[in-house]
Point group: D3
Chain length 122, copies 6
């Protein structure tokens, strides 16, 4: 199994409106350092898993509508608790759609939200 992993980041605000989340019920924010892994059993004719320039473009296009936003204000997240796990799955789904037809393998998402915490989906 081969893989390529690329890193992009975004700076978002949000609140988690459920008493379960304690102080995170407040509007607060995070730098999300997003690692996207593309995995494939084989390399293509150029000896790559995926065109890395295209991979960066797909990831940037996926993060751009979220970057510098308060997730509480985005209709796509209305009625959802935007935990890091949930956002990882959302990014996974968006990239899967965008990469369809370009990339045949599997995708993994890891988000670092602070020096001591990560969440992800794969």
């Amino acid at each position: 199994m081969y893989f390529v992993k690329i890193r992009e980041s975004m700076m978002i605000a949000h609140s988690l409106k459920n008493e379960f989340f304690g102080p995170a019920q407040n509007v607060h924010g995070a730098t999300f350092v997003v690692d996207v892994t593309f995995k494939s059993e084989n390399l293509d004719t150029h000896n790559v898993v995926i065109d890395i320039g295209l991979a960066h473009q797909i990831v940037k296009e996926t993060l751009k509508p979220l970057d510098y936003q308060n997730l509480d204000d985005l209709p796509v997240f209305e009625g959802h608790l935007t935990t890091t796990e949930f956002i990882a799955k959302y990014i996974y789904d968006e990239i899967s759609v965008k990469a369809a037809g370009i990339f045949e393998g599997t995708i993994g998402i890891s988000i670092q939200e602070n020096p001591n915490a990560w969440a992800g989906y794969e």
Copy 2:
């Protein structure tokens, strides 16, 4: 010159309400990884610059009122553009007051706001 540096972090939201800041005019957020450096010409009788437990406590007490907050809502920042530079100076001032009488040397603040950007005051 001796130094001790400690790291704590906080997760804040804010907006920079001036067209100069482009997309950062939106309410967005950041994980601020805050490094506080205590510098001193000499060590004390315990061979330390400062009691590191006390230093951590001072830094945590300084960051706690900001952590999980939208800086736009805090009276102390009303009418100010809360850039990372400005917040670094604010933390510097707060720690200087709290450490007065305990620590005689100089203090430096560095804040990493994303993998490619830092700001600070010393």
Copy 3:
């Protein structure tokens, strides 16, 4: 598969009393940077893998009896070579017991012992 990963660290001394280990037969020490990954097929009703506050508490409680200790002096490790691999498995077992009833998924442990070496169990 979703995951949450949290990081804590501890500072331990030990010796590896077998000539196989060369200079590590001496009493020496390490900062163990411990990453604990909680993996689950599904999110709970709060859109999380595990309550991250509770996860940190479980990990801290697990590391606390080892932190600032010479592992050679702890009865639980008597007669064992406390390699990083062995300690990773010990932490895995302890956290598995503590998380039983709270968390249904699988757990992974990774320990960084210096800038160029890690060991783990999952």
Copy 4:
């Protein structure tokens, strides 16, 4: 499953002679930070996955003929596009041969080529 991971690095030049690679068709270079993971279901009688000194030696011996080289000049790579994915597989094969008889488990290779990009094989 237990694992041990070790890190070594090398500094290489190469060019990717296909218009697919845009500016990387030029002779350019990279610091390849190579992480090699040794995975095993069991520990040996010394409570280790592999003798870590021997593991470092195997990895160093594998990287040494590539370090400080222009990969375009090495006969072993003639006619190949030396992408990071391809090099990861090459290192995997070399280490697999060198570790045969010493280590029974599986091996994984991850190469970081810049702060935002990795490739690997496992």
Copy 5:
């Protein structure tokens, strides 16, 4: 003293044609992770040291002619030993010229060339 630090990277090849440099006399390469620090006694009316978007643009424009190049082929470096120290000073000079009239403070350059080595100029 306030500061802002930004990070960009480039991937270069070169050779150091003097027997002093041992194996680095070969054409080899490096990922140069370049940190540029802008220092100033005061903040401007927007509470910043420098417009961070403009700072990134200046640094990118400075690195672009070097990225994906063999420094041995660039006329500007003809007859020079392109050590990391020398390149740091070159970047310092280029950025100083580009930032003249925009930024009044001092500049520092740090280049990480591998996990265990940095060089710089300030």
Copy 6:
């Protein structure tokens, strides 16, 4: 001012025998990640601050008698509280002696003892 910085690490045990240090009075350990900075106003005829191979050798020779040791057992530290600050100064002094006649500039030492704490001397 030019600089070169190199990183080496060592794994030590020690205890801090004064109630001021709380749990650190126990024999415990640390991975000390030691960054040594060599600073100079000028480059030599090879465009370097110092021969980086020689610099690595000096640092390795300095750390070797401490690596894999319990500092409590070393005569050189008898009667001293071996805080990280104190060890940084010790390394500074040792390297200054070893580099005399080879290097004319100034030296700085930074030791990271865990993910959130550093100490140093310069």
